[in-house]
């Protein structure tokens, strides 16, 4: 059976759905019987979701003004 360490190493592939069906089945079986890995998988998903909402760098106003001028010039 897939070890916990191996499962953890492949967790991103599983989450991103870049895994072959065979491997997916192995992971699912492991998750079914292993609470620590189930938690890890949930925690990694949560971490990814958190990262996705973090650091959304906004466009500086100055830049928007500058680009609008360039855009108007091109008319």
């Amino acid at each position: 059976m897939l070890s916990c360490k191996h499962l953890v190493e492949q967790a991103s592939e599983y989450i991103d759905e870049e895994m072959s069906t065979g491997k997916r089945v192995q992971v699912k079986l492991h998750l079914f019987v292993c609470v620590s890995c189930r938690r890890y998988m949930k925690q990694l998903k949560l971490t990814i979701a958190m990262l996705g909402r973090k650091h959304h760098h906004q466009a500086p106003e100055e830049m928007c003004h500058h680009l609008l001028k360039e855009y108007q010039k091109a008319e």
Binding site: C4, S36, T47, G52, H57, M63
Partner: protein, 210 residues
């Protein structure tokens, strides 16, 4: 990727070509987080805004000739990446190739991971987290300071791939093209970065310490 209330592709392109100024500014703002990530991934944060701005100037000039072979956003993203790469080449002549290669390498993968015993089982049962949603995690100020601290410490390439994938929402193939890295390396680096941040949050949950 960001699709915040923008018109659909054909209309978007037509209106931009026809100088819809309001729409132009909306698009610049809506796409900035991901374009910024692309630029920052290549040239670093200090000049990322500047690179995006320069790229937009090129986009404005080339827009009437846009052929629509790819989505507009993909095309703009590519222009940002090219602009960033040009800057990077100018800037980094002094950076030794060796240090770049070292960062990209995946050979340094840790053989022993203290979380697991020699047979690959968890040494201790992995505890559940008290926090169950991303918003709750984001609202925890001290935790976020801790995450930020560790994000800045990640090797650059790990950080960039994670930014492009998880912040900008880009596909792996596109990321590999932009950063010129093989997809197997990119996957390993992406996972290593995510796993590191998972461990940072886990430790904070367990001990309240960073």
């Amino acid at each position: 990727m960001d699709t915040t209330d923008l018109p659909e592709e054909n209309e978007l392109i037509q209106r931009l070509i026809n100088h819809d100024q309001q729409l132009f500014v909306t698009v610049v703002k809506a796409w900035h987080p991901s374009l910024y990530s692309v630029a920052a991934a290549i040239v670093g944060h200090s000049i990322a805004d500047e690179v995006v701005q320069e790229a937009w100037v090129s986009v404005i000039k080339a827009l009437p000739k846009f052929e629509g072979r790819s989505a507009l956003k993909t095309w703009v993203t590519r222009i940002v990446a090219n602009e960033a790469k040009n800057r990077y080449r100018k800037k980094s002549r002094s950076v030794s190739l060796e240090s770049v290669d070292e960062n990209w390498s995946t050979d340094s993968r840790m053989v022993s991971d203290p979380r697991f015993d020699s047979s690959g089982h968890w040494n201790q049962r992995n505890p559940a987290w008290d926090i169950g949603s991303p918003d709750e995690l984001l609202a925890a100020g001290e935790l976020q300071d801790c995450v930020d601290k560790h994000l800045t410490r990640l090797p650059d390439q790990q950080k960039y791939i994670m930014e492009l994938r998880d912040s900008a929402g880009m596909g792996m193939e596109e990321i590999c093209n932009i950063l010129e890295v093989s997809s197997s390396n990119a996957r390993v680096l992406l996972h290593r970065a995510r796993d590191k941040i998972q461990q940072v949050v886990a430790k904070f949950q367990r001990t309240g310490e960073c």
